[in-house]
Amino acid sequence: MNSLLKKSWWKVLAVVLMVYTITAGLLFDVPRLAILNETIRVLYFHVPMWFGMLILLTVSVVYSIKYLGNPSQKFDNYALEFANAGVIFGVLGLLSGALWANYTWGSPWSSDPKQNAAAIAMLIYFAYLILRNSLEDEQQRAKIGAIYNIFAYATLIPLLFILPRLTDSLHPGNGGNPGFNAYDLDSKLRLVFYPAVLGWTLIGVWLTSQRIRIRAINQKLDERSEEEYIPTGSRHAAADEQSAYSRPVK
């Protein structure tokens, strides 16, 4: 993964895909449909947020599991930053969805199962971030954060199966609403949609890799300043100093 992150071809791909998504998404022909009208273009900007969120959060959990197997700071940085990026995608998805729903469903919040699932996922990951910030010791923070991350993810999975059973979704493609296939007779939507999903996800990974590098640099700087200023021998003072430095670097 590390070597892949340092290569640049996928960043170029991300930029190309984003340019394509924005121009094609806003300018290409879309099916003319009652109620949806031009808002069908939200497909290229809102739906990829969910794909991106799920992918980023899953990667975060994978790194949490890796951390428990082999406690290295690197894995913890990965898990935290992927979760952060997933939260950003989730919040953007909720906002864009609410804006769209306001014009098509009549109100920003309609207790749709997918909306609820997303909101619960956000609650879980905000709790994860608060849990991390309330632990002082760096190793404890990483370990307990990883444990909660895995635990919460494991309970989130049944939720995705349960919620749709409780009420029908208003989303296109659910609860008797015609989906993608019905709208999209000539596959025009797909032509932009799939590249959009890939492009947004790559942007998310890029953002995450930048944040991971900043975090790693800050940690290095902290270590170095500790070595310079603290005389060896007074271990106690060093421990105090460390907890002062180990505040989350935002």
Binding site: I124, A127, I130, L131, S134, L135, I144, F151
Partner: protein, 222 residues
């Protein structure tokens, strides 16, 4: 071997609780007062609460009782004593005995809550066997989930707030299923209607239990 350890630790939990009954009495009084506060806030004649509200209110009270009762399962013990347990027993034994003990505690509290609630707010339940079965599954589920959450929260400085914010989102799937089955029981629907939901509820319990069993050793070691 593990079973023997769990049995011993479980006995220790029960004996400790019984010796200092004030904590137990406290949480029972908490249940009764919570029900009474709800009853007075609705300012109702007996039995005039609508069924959906009756159901939701009952489970919300249960949720808060569970969080408060189970929160202390790890916070109560002093650091030195925890280290002592660490040296003499396996983490699996500890988490299983705590879960088992919390199930017992939750059952006691659930039935106390149900009796007081039904007396003051009326009792619309038609299918008692399903309702009690559901209560049993809910108690097991709540205790399994919250025991693990309490273990996580006890490591932090502001553990009581964290207990709630970590616990709520994790318990939502379970709570939704429980409320649904409970509504079926109140309406007296046939068991076949709730069969699927009960199965899902049991499956969630199983998942949470397994994940706790796997993850707890890592938490314990830190």
């Amino acid at each position: 071997m593990l079973w023997k350890e769990v049995k011993l630790l479980f006995r220790k939990e029960v004996i400790l609780e019984w010796r200092q009954r004030n904590a137990l009495n406290g949480i029972i009084l908490y249940v009764v007062s919570a029900v009474f506060v709800c009853y007075l806030s609705f300012n109702l004649q007996r039995g005039s609460l609508n069924v959906v509200t009756w159901n939701a209110l009952f489970w919300i009270i249960m949720l808060f009782v569970a969080i408060n009762a189970i929160a202390k399962s790890f916070m109560q013990e002093r650091y030195g004593r925890q280290i002592y347990y660490y040296t003499i027993s396996s983490p699996q034994g500890i988490i299983l005995s705590k879960i088992l003990y919390n199930v017992l505690l939750m059952l006691l509290l659930a039935f106390t809550c149900l009796i007081v609630y039904a007396v003051v707010l009326g009792n619309p339940v038609q299918d008692w066997s399903l309702f009690v079965l559901n209560l049993l599954l809910a108690s097991i589920g709540f205790s399994t989930t919250l025991t693990m959450v309490s273990g996580i929260a006890s490591r932090t400085s502001n553990s009581s707030t964290l207990m709630a914010i970590l616990g709520f989102p994790v318990i939502i799937p379970m709570l939704l299923m429980v409320i649904r089955v409970s509504k079926n029981a109140i309406d007296g629907l046939d068991l076949s209607v709730s069969y699927d939901d009960l199965l899902v509820l049991a499956a969630i319990n199983l998942i949470v239990g397994t994940v706790s069993y796997i993850l707890f050793p890592y938490l314990w070691r830190s």
